[in-house]
Symmetry: C2
Subunit: 215 residues, 2 copies
Amino acid sequence: NMQFAVLGLGRFGISLVRELSRMGLDVLGVDSDPNKVNLVKDIATYAVEADSTDEQVLKTLGIRNFDVVVVAIGENVQSNILTTILLKDMGVPMVVAKAQNNLHGRVLEKIGTDLVIYPERDMAIRVAQSLVTKSVLDHINLSSEYSIVEMITPDLFVGKTLRESNIRERHQVSIIALKRGDEIIVNPTPDQSILAKDILVVLGKIKHLDKLSDL
Amino acid sequence: NMQFAVLGLGRFGISLVRELSRMGLDVLGVDSDPNKVNLVKDIATYAVEADSTDEQVLKTLGIRNFDVVVVAIGENVQSNILTTILLKDMGVPMVVAKAQNNLHGRVLEKIGTDLVIYPERDMAIRVAQSLVTKSVLDHINLSSEYSIVEMITPDLFVGKTLRESNIRERHQVSIIALKRGDEIIVNPTPDQSILAKDILVVLGKIKHLDKLSDL
Ligand SMILES: Nc1ncnc2c1ncn2[C@@H]1O[C@H](COP(=O)(O)OP(=O)(O)OP(=O)(O)O)[C@@H](O)[C@H]1O
Ligand SMILES: Nc1ncnc2c1ncn2[C@@H]1O[C@H](COP(=O)(O)OP(=O)(O)OP(=O)(O)O)[C@@H](O)[C@H]1O
């Protein structure tokens, strides 16, 4: 069972704790502000009031045993960077950090952050694009009619090619990609055969996707 | 030419100004903090130091003539809400506002905001999902190999059906949707004919997409 820690419980950190916990995962939430800690008491698996730049604190929390630690401290760029350095030094396998701006982001990359995130910038770009063009992709993503979902292959398709399963005609959806273990096959051809544990990426109307997952 | 105004130049507001301006659009940037105004002087079409809760100021700026106004004020929830109310009262056709949390968002919806955004929350949800499952969609979106793009129909395909153009075999990409005016056709069938001004939504390897847009 994957173990997550989120250091810094601003809007981003708190939403991350909420979503991970909703997905049924173990999440530790940490903030130096007791009010923030209080907000996640009932959502996080554990909520601790602490200063994440304190190496002793991180050791006490056993932070190196976590699979993923997210540094969601914002305005205090120095604390954000220092915390990140400590985490990498202590051997945390995956460190995700939120960057305040491009320069901060470059520093984070230089010090070995596994994933640097720019939440406000990335959302602004998506919002700008959806305000300017009625993007078809946004329509697919945001429309209440269509969706793109991943699902385990229904038994019905196992051992057949896409052409043999005739999915588009019979089920009115299209398989835009499939995943087999670590391999991802995008735009599979009609000759692509489907195996028992394949994960299908399916595009179609929600009512048709629902029917498919009932198979 | 669409006219945008962004009120509040925090990380989200500033990225929005940057992206809209990169797209070649007219953007007015407003902030009560002269340092923020200074940051956008060379990016925005106009940058003004002003308090967006001041109705007289909004009138002087001719804010009602803007097509889209984005309220990107953050911590000061009261100013965010007041600004939004003034904009709707003055008849701005599309008002977009950033919400600090769910309660703030509900108030914004009640007062007629056209689009309420939760940048930190929405990014946290996407990050949580991509950390937990090596999502095929993220792989497609984030992979340096594949992409999903929209493009104007190359002349080569005009007046033919998808089957006749044989796009998947000849060009190694798939058309997952097409847009004709306001109509969007998802999962077009092989019999779908393509017209001159159609916009195609194409999924494939970037090198193949590039070849396609050279047609
Ligand atoms: N050294 C630290 N140790 C633990 N928590 C910290 C530390 N420094 C800052 N924080 C916490 O990090 C949280 C997020 O920081 P801040 O509010 O500055 O960022 P933000 O970018 O505005 O956040 P968001 O945009 O996610 O709301 C705050 O709740 C703050 O108390
Ligand atoms: N009444 C106002 N008129 C104009 N600008 C304002 C007003 N109130 C706040 N602002 C500006 O709005 C900007 C964004 O607000 P703030 O920094 O509180 O939000 P934030 O949510 O932390 O922003 P972000 O997450 O986008 O960085 C600030 O630059 C601030 O000066």
